[in-house]
């Protein structure tokens, strides 16, 4: 593959087999510099394998990963930060010294590492545990510690594999704030998650993987524009009148409310429904990413 002119992360035609089983099958996508990119897919879709190849932990059978137009031929550890899906830290060592060690492996000097670790421990309210053995920390705190290890060297590209799993709502908010901050500071974020709501809020672009293949890829706006369906929810004053199926596809009814996808434009549909009976409430909403995701995985997208 010739050097790309992209300044971001360029994943091109990746293939990976494990003993004859195709885990990643001709996967390509681009992550623009400074963007937040969501890698989505059901369990076993191949997300973690793609991420491991990007990080240089696994070798690809075919294809290439480029960063800033150059192939990532060896580990550029200082430029990348990585939070693996499989969480784990040393258990019998002290929190601060462990984080300093992991930061030093990323190329920081001792004083740089120690200074940044202290700052992050304070930010995550872990300073009281600094000299404690990691095994005495709660699961959530251990996860925060691991997140610190992933970003302590202030990398250009941050790769987070299911970062919200195992965190309580308060820490999910802290994590989201920090991801937003990292992005505001110019970092490129590659986020793998099955929590669509989080991805929708954090990412500008997505790639949906299923069974090792790319199902959908593009900016969130484009994907939603192309695959979102307008859904309406209409509440009548009494029972649901006959004939709503002329205006709504696959209507679902509950009491005097009917919900379904529009068959025609919004205005004629509203007018048509009002002709059938007295409408108390008329709601319009777009498909969520989760609905698009489920539809795509089930093969319902064209």
């Amino acid at each position: 593959m010739p050097p790309s002119d992209s300044q971001g992360l360029d994943i091109s035609r990746l293939v990976k087999n494990f003993n004859g089983l195709v885990a990643v099958d001709d996967v390509s996508f681009k992550v623009a510099p400074g963007a937040s990119f969501g890698l989505l897919g059901p369990n076993g879709a191949g997300k973690t394998t793609i991420i491991r190849i990007v990080m240089g932990i696994l070798g690809a059978d075919n294809g290439e990963v480029q960063y800033q137009g150059q192939p990532i031929t060896r580990l550029e550890s200082r430029r990348f930060g990585y939070l693996p899906e499989e969480r784990g830290l040393y258990q019998k060592t002290r929190l601060r010294e462990t984080l300093v060690y992991l930061a030093r492996l990323k190329g920081l000097t001792f004083s740089e590492a120690a200074g940044r670790v202290d700052a992050y421990l304070e930010r995550f309210e872990l300073q009281d545990y600094a000299q404690k053995n990691i095994q005495t920390l709660s699961k959530g705190n251990q996860q925060k510690a691991q997140f610190i290890a992933a970003i302590v060297h202030e990398p250009e590209v941050v790769i987070l594999d299911e970062p919200f799993v195992g965190l309580d709502p308060v820490n999910q908010i802290v994590l989201k704030e920090i991801i937003t901050e990292l992005q505001a500071g110019g970092a490129t974020i590659l986020l793998s998650s099955h929590q669509m709501e989080q991805v929708e809020r954090l990412c500008q672009a997505i790639c949906l993987i299923d069974r090792g293949r790319v199902v959908l890829e593009g900016s969130l706006v484009d994907v939603k524009g192309a695959h979102s369906e307008q859904r309406v929810e209409v509440t009548f004053d009494r029972s649901i009148p006959e004939g709503v199926d002329r205006w709504l596809a696959a209507p679902e009814t509950r009491d005097s409310t009917v919900a379904g996808e529009l068959k025609r434009g919004l205005a004629p549909t509203l007018k048509g429904l009002m002709d059938l009976g007295r409408v108390l409430e008329f709601k319009v909403r777009e498909s969520t990413l989760e609905e698009i995701f489920i539809k795509a995985v089930k093969g319902g997208l064209e």
Partner: protein
Amino acid sequence: MNAAWLVARWEYTIRIRSKFFLISTLLMPLLIVGMMYLPMLLIDESDVRGLELAIVDASGEWAGQIGQLLDERHNTSDGIPLYPRWILQSESRHGQRAEAIALLEAGVIEAYLVIEPEFITKGEVSYVTRDQGRVFEQEQLRRAVQSVWTQAAFQSHRVDPELLATLNQDIAWTSYASKGKSLSAIDEMQAFMTPIIYVMILFFAVFFSSQILMRSIITERGSRVVEMLLSSITSRDLMTGKILGLGLVGLTQIAIYLLVASLAGVGRGVELISAGGAGYFILYAILGYFFYAAIYASVGSLFETEQEAQQVVGLLSLIPILPLVFSSYVIIHPEALVVRIASFFPPLTPFLMIIRLEVTKVPWWEVAGTALVLALFTLLMMRWAGVIFRTAILLYGKRITLPEIVRWVKVG
């Protein structure tokens, strides 16, 4: 700083301050000192308490002489004889024995000697005791009876009593070891103990470090820390750092052990650890450690729990136990063909060579040859270990088969 060196420093620091290191490091010197001083304590005859004794002797002649000799030889510091005795002399031998048995059962005496009728011609004596553990007393009695019998035998052949006194003396025997042009006096204890202490130190240090290495890899793999590490450094740096760091832990232990062994030797007045011996020891210890570390690192990267790995390691550990078991044979027969050939078998080389170098002058080409073969196999093992480590370390939840490993090694 180099990534492998950072890993090595981390491994060294966290292991050296662990309780496990402290306990195991103290345990070995205790064993060494125990080996040095325990036999000495056992052999210490000042602990001999003596026996209340009966001597059954129909003639009465021998019992008197034996008793006299015992009184001359064995007394307390206050001059009290250690072997007070009843002499049972009567016409009926059966009656004398019965009386001795009764005294023994009543607890009046602790043992009795029966001087058989043909003592002078055949030297027949029986010793009966309730307490079989009083071996030193038994030995003192045996020596006294032997002296009386020898003296009587010489006298019956009219041997000059002065000559007899001379013959009864021990000769002045001194052993020397020839090492090059110099001779050094051999202390039997040192000659036997030094190689055994070396082998034990080597065994302990090599397997302590290798076991920790394996456990550390399994823990990092099991807790998934390894994925985080491999996102920062290469698998080669990680493995090299771990092997180096834990090797330094082993070397620290060896240094402590050698120091303790030297001091224990000084305490006994012998030079247990010589500079030359320690030099060869370190050479083979380093090569041996790298050889076994490569094997243990490979095993560690194949298993997710220590229990699974222990089955394989248990089998592997049988190989280096062989030199430990046969160390006495190797000390006595350092030049035997089987020992010389086995010295070229890499898993045994370090253990056999440090014994042989301590007890005999091994030809230089054997030293160079065994070290070279071991070094080559160590390099090969390290290479294979690198391939296995790199391939297996992230293969979770899958039972890895031997043909697969062979295939990786061939491809790698």
